[in-house]
């Protein structure tokens, strides 16, 4: 199960995701890029079954692009997050997709915002969030060490510590 660690810093958002792609017990690729850009100032970190991931994010990326072309206006991060939530909700009731996403976007007025989106259609704006099994271990770590408005060096430091913890505790 993939891990996504995302933090909100001072005027920026940062996200770390592992680059492993596996099928049951075999590692098929160890440098897979799991970030998807949406528009000019938003990106998604997606975890889950690769087929579902590509099918959903491709559709989403192109829908937002079509909207931008049709109206000449760009969507805010909040709108995109709600759009994703609605799509996942609809999928859940038809043919469930097993993907979890974190959306990070930058708007002129609100600055950087971070949205946690679940495969059930849960949507929550947060300052820091973790997805995947490692959330059991890292949540308490981040609760203690995360501070608002950190600069880039401090956030990188925290991410490095998270990665060390995962290496110690996970297979």
């Amino acid at each position: 199960m993939d891990t996504i660690i995302s933090l909100n810093g001072k005027g920026f958002g940062i996200s770390a995701i592992d680059t492993l792609s596996f099928k049951s017990f075999l590692i098929t690729k160890n440098n897979l890029n799991k970030f998807i850009e949406i528009g000019k100032n938003k990106f998604l970190a997606v975890s889950g079954y690769p087929g579902d991931v590509i099918q959903f994010t491709d559709f989403l990326q192109k829908t937002i692009q079509l909207y931008t072309l049709k109206t000449g206006l760009s969507l805010s991060t909040r709108s995109v997050a709600n759009c994703i939530r609605k799509e996942l909700s609809d999928c859940l009731r038809k043919s469930p997709l097993n993907i979890n996403l974190t959306l990070i976007g930058f708007d002129k007025i609100y600055g950087s915002s971070l949205y946690f989106i679940d495969y059930l259609g849960t949507l929550q704006r947060m300052n820091y969030c973790i997805q995947g099994h490692s959330s059991l271990i890292l949540s308490s770590f981040l609760d203690r060490y995360y501070k608002k408005e950190m600069n880039l060096a401090e956030t990188l430091n925290i991410l490095k510590k998270c990665s060390d913890i995962i290496k110690t505790r996970f297979l």
């Binding site: 049709k70 109206t71 000449g72 206006l73 969507l75 805010s76 909040r78 709108s79 995109v80 709600n82 759009c83 609605k86």
Partner: protein, 245 residues
């Protein structure tokens, strides 16, 4: 049988025109007059009401200005039922947009939704076009205040000051003369009075026209103001006193 006018709605005639669209413009030119003026402070739309007989009781259904979303409203002229169908559809689309994106639909998007519907009826299906012209006004954080006019063909254009409906040509000429770049809402109200008053002259102005204003209030919130009959009548008094002086 050969005829100069081809009554099929979805085909061109030999002159390169769609005759049904020309005829629908006739419906619009007989509809109630609507004036829209865009000022730096906000948008003003005024429509003329139909003549009421004494026993008519439908005063609440007479309005020709409808709210499409929180800060978007439109005035209709021409065929009322056609316009109502469009307004209903636009309202549904605006709320569906809000359900997906949790944001108020941009003005341009709701405009293209309405115009796409209108255009579809001129090209497919063999049905007649909508015999209405809509004046859509609203505020965008990107483009500020905007007024758009839509036509039965599905064409739309943005305006600073526009007149549609009855006597649109004369009214547009008056607007062209009177409009200045830095108008205030008060000035725009005076222009509207000038246009409507010369035809009405006697008795109550408020039973003949209705005025909607979209502007920012003191707290920088967008507000849509519908002038009450008393306010419209008091506007007239203001002009009267000015004329006397």
């Amino acid at each position: 049988m050969p005829s100069k006018i081809d009554f099929k709605t979805t085909s061109f005639d030999s002159g390169g025109r769609i005759s049904q669209l020309e005829f629908s413009m006739e419906t619009i030119n007989n509809g109630n007059p609507v004036i829209g003026i865009k000022t730096s402070e906000g948008i003003l739309i005024a429509t003329g009401k139909n003549n009421l007989s004494y026993y008519s009781d439908s005063s609440q259904f007479l309005t020709k200005i409808f709210l499409l979303e929180e800060n978007i409203f439109c005035a209709i002229t021409g065929s009322n039922p056609d316009a109502q169908a469009l307004v209903d559809n636009a309202r549904i689309q605006a709320q569906q947009f809000k359900q997906t994106f949790q944001e108020i639909i941009p003005l341009k998007k709701i405009l293209t939704i309405i115009c796409d519907i209108k255009q579809k009826f001129t090209q497919t299906g063999g049905k007649r076009p909508f015999g209405t012209s809509l004046l859509i006004g609203g505020f965008d954080s990107v483009n500020g205040f905007q007024i758009f006019r839509t036509e039965p063909s599905g064409n739309f254009s943005e305006w600073k000051a526009v007149a549609i409906g009855l006597n649109s040509y004369t009214n547009q000429t008056i607007l062209d003369e009177e409009f200045k770049i830095d108008l205030t809402i008060e000035d725009a109200l005076q222009i509207i009075l000038k246009i409507f008053y010369k035809k009405i002259k006697s008795f109550k102005l408020s039973s003949k026209i209705e005025i909607f204003i979209l502007k920012h209030d003191d707290k920088q919130q967008l507000v849509i103001n519908c002038l009450s009959p008393n306010e419209i009548d008091s506007l007239l008094k203001k002009t009267e006193t000015l004329k006397v002086d």
